[in-house]
Each structure stands twice: as C-alpha cells, then as structure tokens.
C-alpha cells in the first residue's frame, strides 16, 4: 500500500486530497500511467506531467525515480510560496 497525496489544482481535478492504493508500479512514471488509466478525472490531472512536480516521502524527486520503500507520493503543480 502506498499513500498518494494531491495538492492545489491536482487535488481539485482528482477530487480528493489523499488516498491509499495498491500498486505494482516500480517508478513514479508507471504509477502515473496506472492512475491515468483509472478514470477521466485522473487523466485530466495527469494530462501534462511537465506541469507537475513529485515528492517522495516529502522530498522533491523525479518522475523516473523508483518507488521501492516509498510510503508517500505527492503530486502538485510548481510551488508558489513567498
């Protein structure tokens, strides 16, 4: 089981802030493919991954990163703090 969290417009498009899923994905990119295939709202949120950022266990990461041992994956648009 892996915890997936969504922020900002990714959260709005998918319609939930977090969920736990069972996945066999080995990388973030494979997880994105699985999610995209689920429902239209996921396909909409992940239509353009270049517009997204990913964090693994609360550290910024890359879409080709491996998921082994990861407990929490977060997807969000580029950050706008300050």
């Amino acid at each position: 089981m892996i915890e997936i969290v969504y922020f900002a417009w990714v959260r709005e498009r998918i319609g939930l802030p977090r969920e736990r899923i069972e996945t066999k994905a080995a990388t973030v990119a494979e997880l994105v493919e699985e999610l995209r295939a689920r429902e239209e709202r996921y396909a909409a949120a992940f239509a353009d991954v270049s517009a997204l950022r990913v964090a693994l266990d609360q550290e910024l990461s890359e879409f080709d990163a491996a998921l082994s041992g990861v407990r929490e994956v977060a997807f969000f648009p580029p950050m706008t703090g300050g």
Binding site: A8, A55, P78, M79, G81
Partner: protein
C-alpha cells in the same frame, strides 16, 4: 533560528524587534515582509495551501543552507497559510550577520528558494472567480544565480 508555518497573523514589527534586540555580535539585520497585494483589482483574498510536514522540512533545509553559506548569527522565517485578506502580511524573513552584504544576500536567497522550493500554492480569490497563481520562469531563473 526560528521557523514558523502558521495560519494566524503575525506582527512583523514585533518580530523584527525581538529578533534584533540585544544583539552585540552582529552588525547587520535585514528583513523582508511579503504582503497580499491586489494586482489587477477585485482580489478578495489569497488562499494558501501547503504540504504539512514537507513544508517545515523544506524550509528547515533552505534555512540551514543560508545559515551556513553566509555564516548567519541567526535567522527567522515565518510563512502563513489559509485565507489571507488583501494587505495582510503573508510571510517574512530576517537575517542577522556580521556585515550588511551577507545579511542582504542571505535574505534574498531565502526568498528565492521559499518561492519555488517550499511547498506552498497560492490561489487568488477575486470577485470574478478563483484561480491558482502560476509559477513563472523568472522564479526558477532566480535560483540559478545562487
């Protein structure tokens, strides 16, 4: 070193006073306060979302980088989240160093990194609807000078 991620307001003047008070080892204190501005008219509030846990961790790492690189005596980062009306302070940074240049540079570094590496997202709620603020290429470019 003080790092605060908070929903409630803060008093930038009081924070700066407390930060500067009684220091004898530093020659320079610099502070920056960011305020909710109404760029195009019609802004009702700025809604700021963040990633609890990662936010504190990311700010802590950025702050530690700044402290080490400019040999800061101390620093403050306060960043709010939630719904903030126009004119309210969103965030502040303050740095204390031996010399002015280090204090200014460290404050700018903190600001540049907080803008695009701390997990906050701003949404402008206006009279004609709400929209997410988009990051700009300039935000990312700002990091390249460090």
């Amino acid at each position: 070193m003080k790092i605060s991620v908070q929903e409630g307001p803060f008093d930038a003047g009081a924070e700066l006073d407390a930060f500067s008070h009684g220091r004898q080892e530093v020659g320079a204190v610099v502070s920056f306060t960011g305020i909710v501005r109404d760029r195009e008219g019609g802004l009702i509030a700025m809604e700021i979302e963040h990633y609890p846990g990662m936010t504190e961790k990311a700010i802590g790492e950025i702050a530690e980088q700044a402290r080490a690189r400019w040999n800061l005596a101390d620093l403050v980062v306060i960043h709010r989240f939630g719904s903030l009306p126009v004119g309210q302070p969103i965030m502040m940074v303050a740095t204390a160093a031996l010399h002015r240049r280090a204090a200014f540079e460290a404050a700018e570094y903190l600001m540049d990194y907080l803008k695009s590496r701390a997990p906050f997202w701003k949404k402008e709620v206006t009279q004609s609807g709400a929209h997410w603020v988009e990051a700009t290429p300039e935000d990312e470019d700002a990091l390249s000078r460090w």
